[in-house]
């Protein structure tokens, strides 16, 4: 593990730190309030107050469970790209497009120069960190993913769009660091969609993280990693947070062929299944992880954000992660 870096940042984490990927299910109160807000029955301040209460609930819950590196649970976010696009000059809200089945989303359109004019996530991070002594991660969506999941009508090509967004995300990283944030996750779930563009994603991440003093994590999921591994290890981050369990740990084979050189947040529970894994299943997955990475490189978490599960299912899955970490620490 990049323990030295964490130590320099003043962070002492136990072996097998337990974290989570970002989103938690919206509490019933938040779901109700979002509906009332849409219908004009409550105002933005009232909605924010309910989101703050829900954030406090999730911070408390993570502490009770014994999680080591916390997230704010994203009670105030909808889509991981739209949240940023809606707040950045240069973006226009696009019409509905289908993502699968009967699910649709408003895909943003880059219609002008994208600019960072004010912090986008800092106040939420400050609030969440104020509720706990444990470290809370700063949570951002990466430039390559924002580019790939948006239309572009302004920049000449995908790379130019991506690099402009990298400058924006860097400004947000700097703002988080200036506020005291020490662990920052920059999600790139689109990382493998065009393997030939991996160098673009890497160059963009350099622009986001180079020379900045924080422990960086990136999360990627449901991708064709076989096409970008081991090249993806060039991404300038300390920790890869990877969905492993949904795909039957098939990435391990890749890691056997070419050593995994970074810290890894290893997904040990499937977030797209209602079924709660047996403790033994989770322990076996940790054992499997330890066959490819040394123990001081291994973090434990769910495959992906838990927002599609119920509150009870999410808590139960997080508990399994903590139990497994404790079993191996002993």
């Amino acid at each position: 593990m990049n323990r030295q870096k964490l130590k320099k940042l003043g962070l002492e984490l136990p072996l097998f730190p337990v974290t989570s990927v970002g989103s938690f299910p919206k509490t019933d109160a938040v779901v109700r309030a979002r509906g009332e807000f849409r219908r004009g029955k409550i105002n933005a301040e009232q909605l924010t107050e309910i989101e703050r209460e829900a954030t406090a609930f999730w911070i408390r819950k993570q502490e009770e469970l014994g999680i080591d590196v916390l997230v704010d649970g994203e009670q105030y976010r909808g889509d991981m790209v739209a949240y940023f696009a809606e707040r950045l000059p240069g973006f226009t809200n696009g019409g509905l497009v289908r993502s699968y089945g009967n699910r649709y989303y408003h895909k943003p359109i880059v219609t002008g120069e994208v600019k960072w004019t004010e912090p986008l996530t800092v106040e939420w991070w400050r609030y969440a960190q104020g509720l706990t002594k444990k470290p809370v991660k700063g949570m951002l969506t990466g430039p390559y993913t924002i580019m790939d999941w948006s239309f572009n009508e302004h920049y000449p090509d995908r790379k130019a769009t991506c690099m402009a967004l990298a400058g924006v995300i860097r400004s947000e990283v700097e703002a988080l660091i200036a506020t005291g944030c020490k662990i920052i996750q920059v999600d790139e779930p689109a990382l493998s969609v065009r393997p030939e563009e991996l160098p673009v994603a890497i160059e963009a991440m350099h622009r986001v993280t180079d020379g900045l003093n924080a422990y960086f994590i990136t999360h990627a999921c449901y991708g064709a990693f076989d096409l970008i591994y081991p090249g993806m290890l060039e991404l300038p981050v300390d920790n890869f947070d990877l969905e492993m369990s949904n795909s039957g740990l098939d990435l391990l084979e890749l890691f056997r062929r070419h050593r995994f050189t970074k810290d890894i947040s290893f997904g040990v529970v499937d977030v797209h299944s209602h079924v709660l894994e047996e403790p033994a299943t989770v322990r076996q997955r940790v054992e499997q992880a330890l066959t490819v990475v040394p123990k001081d490189q291994l973090w434990i978490d769910p495959d992906c954000g838990l927002k599609t599960r119920t509150v009870e299912e999410a808590i139960a899955k997080l508990r399994r992660c903590v139990e497994a970490a404790k079993a191996f620490r002993n």
Binding site: G95, L96, V97, S99, F151
Partner: protein, 343 residues
């Protein structure tokens, strides 16, 4: 040389107004048990009619049914075949769209028509959209090709675990469907094979499958049917295998020009022994092309293309765009044709 305006496949099944959200509402109601299967079918019919009306209004010569009934390009067809179970979600190529993956559990077999009734409905809808006078306008059925279906499927059946027999099994089913579509009066059938662009190493397997489909076309022609087979490839750079694609026993080749600006150079340089469908209007980005610029590219290529007609269309289906932009892209096709014709 004439330029025919032809759609390339899917069309948005939603829009921003409440009226255009009919299908979404009905599916949600159906899932909650509040709406019947007949309600669902009628909502699909209504959105299909609208998709065809918008294509006709934009002046397209060749329309599709917008694939409104298709859950995705893979499971709609595969799910109608015996021996297939539809499984979980997977990302479709480099889109942010997810399809349900077919799992072949036992012998894969066509057990009924796949797209014939959709064709018949679409023709009636086109006639209605043109007030009973469709003239030379035609509906083009679209089928996802055997190589792509096989590539995006899993197999539990031992004999289909290797790619080649899986491709062959899908090719048999689709060959029968091509015959049925020809008998139903289809003049052209579009076969989508995006996967071959990503896996050109499978060329032999792919080419044999195309051969099986063209044999079905030839058999239909012997029965006196008038049918042409169009192969469409998109979602990746077509240039590396362009010449091989153009040499296949097909009646037209649809190309996506958005991944490599030099593809037009390759067409100019090598020419084309068969008519081409020119996917020069980006079906994946909202930015509207400049008609004059696109017209210049077309004018450069047209003299090098065999046949007396080329098709102009979007680079892929338009479902990846919001409805207002999809409609604008269709309108653009007519503007580009006018620019080519110097009007």
């Amino acid at each position: 040389m004439t330029l025919t305006l032809a759609h390339s496949g899917s069309y948005p099944r939603i829009g921003d107004s409440a009226e255009l959200q009919l299908l979404r509402r009905t599916i949600a109601g159906f899932d909650r048990g509040e709406r019947s299967a007949a309600d669902l079918a009628e909502a699909e019919n209504q959105m299909t009619r609208l998709a065809i009306e918008e294509q006709a209004a934009a002046g397209l010569d060749v329309v599709t049914d917008g694939q409104i009934r298709w859950n995705d390009p893979v499971s709609y067809l595969a799910g109608k075949l015996a021996g297939v179970r539809i499984n979980g979600l997977l990302r479709l190529y480099d889109t942010n769209f997810y399809f349900r993956q077919p799992v072949i559990e036992s012998r894969l077999q066509r057990q009924g028509e796949l797209a014939v009734s959709d064709l018949q409905f679409a023709r009636e809808a086109l006639a209605a959209a043109c007030k009973g006078k469709p003239g030379s306008r035609q509906v083009k059925p679209v089928l996802t090709g055997p190589y792509t279906l096989a590539h995006l499927s899993l197999a539990q059946a031992e004999e289909l675990k290797a790619l080649e027999p899986r491709v062959e099994a899908y090719a048999e089913a689709l060959a029968a469907e091509i015959g049925a579509l020809a008998d139903a009066g289809a003049e052209t059938v579009q076969i989508d094979e995006p996967s071959i662009l990503l896996h050109p190493g499978d060329w032999q397997i792919f080419a044999r499958a195309v051969g099986r489909l063209s044999a079905a076309r030839d058999e239909a022609r012997k029965r006196g049917r008038k049918i042409g087979l169009l192969l469409y490839v998109y979602f990746h750079d077509c240039a590396p295998i362009y010449s091989k694609l153009a040499a296949l026993p097909i009646d037209g080749l649809g190309l996506d020009f958005t991944y490599n600006r030099k593809l037009a150079d390759a067409v100019v340089e090598s020419g084309s022994p068969i008519p081409l469908a020119l996917g020069l209007v980006d079906g994946r980005n909202t930015k509207l092309e400049q008609p004059a610029e696109v017209a210049r590219e077309i004018s450069r290529m047209l003299p090098r293309i065999a046949g007396d007609s080329a098709w102009l269309g979007p680079s892929c289906g338009l479902e990846y765009l919001p409805r207002d932009r999809a409609r604008a892209k269709l309108q653009l096709l007519g503007e580009i044709r006018s620019a080519v014709e110097g009007r």
